[in-house]
Structures are given as C-alpha cells and as structure tokens.
Amino acid sequence: MYIIVVGAGKVGYHLARLLMTESHHDHEVMLIEKDRAKVNLLSVEFHDAIMEGDGSTVEALKEAGANRADVVVATTGNDEDNLVICQIVKLMFLRPRTIARVNNPRNEELFAGLGVDASVSGTKLINAIIHEQVRAGDMMIPLLTLKAGDIEIVEVQLTRSSHIVRKKIKDLTLPTGSIFIAVIRGEEVIIPYGETEFQPEDKVLALVKRESEQALRELL
C-alpha cells in the first residue's frame, strides 16, 4: 500500500514510523510536513519518505503522488487543515481513502457529512476505553433510602462489559436481600421475571439491603 501522512507532529511522526517498520506489510510511506526545520531534522530518519510542503494544497499532494496513493491520513493539529486535505484528495485524486484526525470531537459528525471517509478523535477513543473499563457495579446510583438507610433502591446503568448482560435472571444467583424491580430499556419499563434477559444499554432498578449492596455490586 502507498500511504501519505500529512503532518509530522507527534501523531503523524509515530504513525509514519510505525507503518514503515511494520515488516510484514510492504507499505510505502510519504510524510508531508510544512515546517522546514522539522523536515530537516526528520530526514535523517525518513530519507526520501519525507517532503516539505503544505499538505492542504493541490501542489503538495500532487508532488507526493496522491493520485496513486491508497490512503491519505491528515494528522495535523488543526481540524480545518485536516478537513481541507481530505476534501482536496476526494475531489482531485479520487482513488485514496481519506482518514482525518479530529482534534475537536464535536467535528467528527461534520467531517463525515463533508465526505471524509473516516475520522479518529483521540478524546473519543480514550473516553470509550474508560467507559469499557468502568464496571457496571461501580456505577450504582442510590435513588432512595428507606428504613433509615437499611434498604436502598439503586439504579445501575449496564454496559457491554457488565457481567449480567445477555444473561437471564433465572440463571443468576442474586445475593440474599436484593431483588430487581424494574429494567428500563429505552422508553420501555419492564417488570422483570425469570425469563428477562439483560441488554447492554439497560438501566436496572434494584431493591437492596445495605449489607447485600457489595454482593450485588460484584454480581453486576
């Protein structure tokens, strides 16, 4: 594959290096950078695989051979530059797929609407990973405390990583002193029974005795 990477900042530099050193792939890489000092510094490592130029111009992309590229990745720190790079490629060179780094996650949708094939937002990625890591049991929200704190009604937002997802209530061993009272699925409220199967986006309401709370947390 021939891959053009625009912008030799941290993201662009490491991406280009990674692509070049992946020995099992036979990638050809060209890194475009507009700062001459940076180009000079990196040319020791990249030799002919780096060129000086403004990647958001037709001239530079042409010089880099965008017409025969398979992928163009716009990795600069400016969303407006990344957008224009991808749009030029789509309009002028037709062939390559375009991937844009999105610095402001709010621009992701806009980019898709304006013809960028794929966009990557660091903020969103990290956010998604955090949400995967947080166990549902850690997100138990007390809604109501009864009998001076002995009994609680709690709400739990399930995620894909919750233990009880895709399981039926009858197959679970609920800790003594706890019971599921409702499952909220979108707009629907389900009064659960043995056959009820939990889905990743469900909100579960449970009645739980204070001493059983930890056990319920672990189950989820």
């Binding site: 958001s56 111009t57 037709v58 001239e59 400016n78 969303d79 407006e80 530059d81 957008l83 224009v84 749009q87 030029i88 309009l91 002028m92 806009l110 609407g113 304006l114």
Partner: protein, 137 residues
C-alpha cells in the same frame, strides 16, 4: 440586509464599515478584540469576540435570518471550514468564503462553496492594465 462578517482584517473591516454606512445590519466576529480597532468610530453594528468555527459564537447571530455571511479570516482553510459548517448548521441566505489559493478557490466551487479569490482579482486587474498600456503604446 443582515450581514455577518467573520474576520475583521484589512478587508473585512472596510467591508463592515461600508455596509454599516449604507444602512445594513452588520455583525462582525473576530477572535482578537484588537481587530475591532480597524472599524470606524461611526460603526454601529455588533462586535463579537470569538472563534468562527465554534457554533456557540455564531449561533446567536445566525439563528436570526441572515442574508449573507462572509468567511474572511486570513486563513483559507478556516474560511472553507466555516463556510461549509455554517451552511449545514444554520442555512443563511448566502455564504461566501475568501480563499487566497487560486486552485483551492476553484476546486471548492465544484463542491458548491461560493468563493472569492483575491489573488485572481489582482492578477486580472494587473493583466488589464498591461492590456491598456500596450494599447497606448
């Protein structure tokens, strides 16, 4: 007419002054407060300090019916992004991006983005003068 001008530079400020003087309702946005010094003392329009790429700064203006928006900061790519974003999100009557790169200006017309290219205008003017001086020889 109600006009929004994003970028109060040498050109944007003069355009704002003249439209204001001609009785139009003008809103000028620039990320740098100092840029508004270029506006004349008589300028009666609205000044907004902010980033034209961020919806929060343009929404209050564009929620009301706006006839034309000029994206004319000193950065071509910012102007092109503002123009496309604003068209999608707020649908003002007309959107014009100032783009100095002549090739880009032409290319984006194909994408349906109205552009004005100062470089092309200067060249056209200079070539006309050449023509005139040739004729007078």
């Amino acid at each position: 007419m109600r006009v929004m001008i994003i970028g109060c530079g040498r050109v944007g400020s003069v355009l704002a002054n003249q439209l204001d003087e001609a009785g139009h309702e003008v809103v000028v946005l620039d990320r740098n407060q100092q840029a508004f010094r270029r506006l004349s003392e008589k300028f009666s329009g609205e000044r907004i300090v902010g980033n034209g790429l961020v919806d929060e700064f343009v929404r209050p203006t564009l929620e009301k019916k706006t006839d034309i928006l000029f994206a004319m900061t000193d950065n071509d790519n910012i102007n092109l992004m503002i123009a496309q974003k604003v068209k999608l999100n707020f649908h003002p009557g007309e959107v014009i991006a100032v783009v100095h790169d002549s090739i880009l200006a032409g290319l984006y017309k194909e994408l349906g983005v109205e552009t004005v290219c100062p470089t092309d205008l200067v060249i056209k003017d200079l070539l006309q003068r050449l023509q005139i001086s040739k004729e007078s020889v």
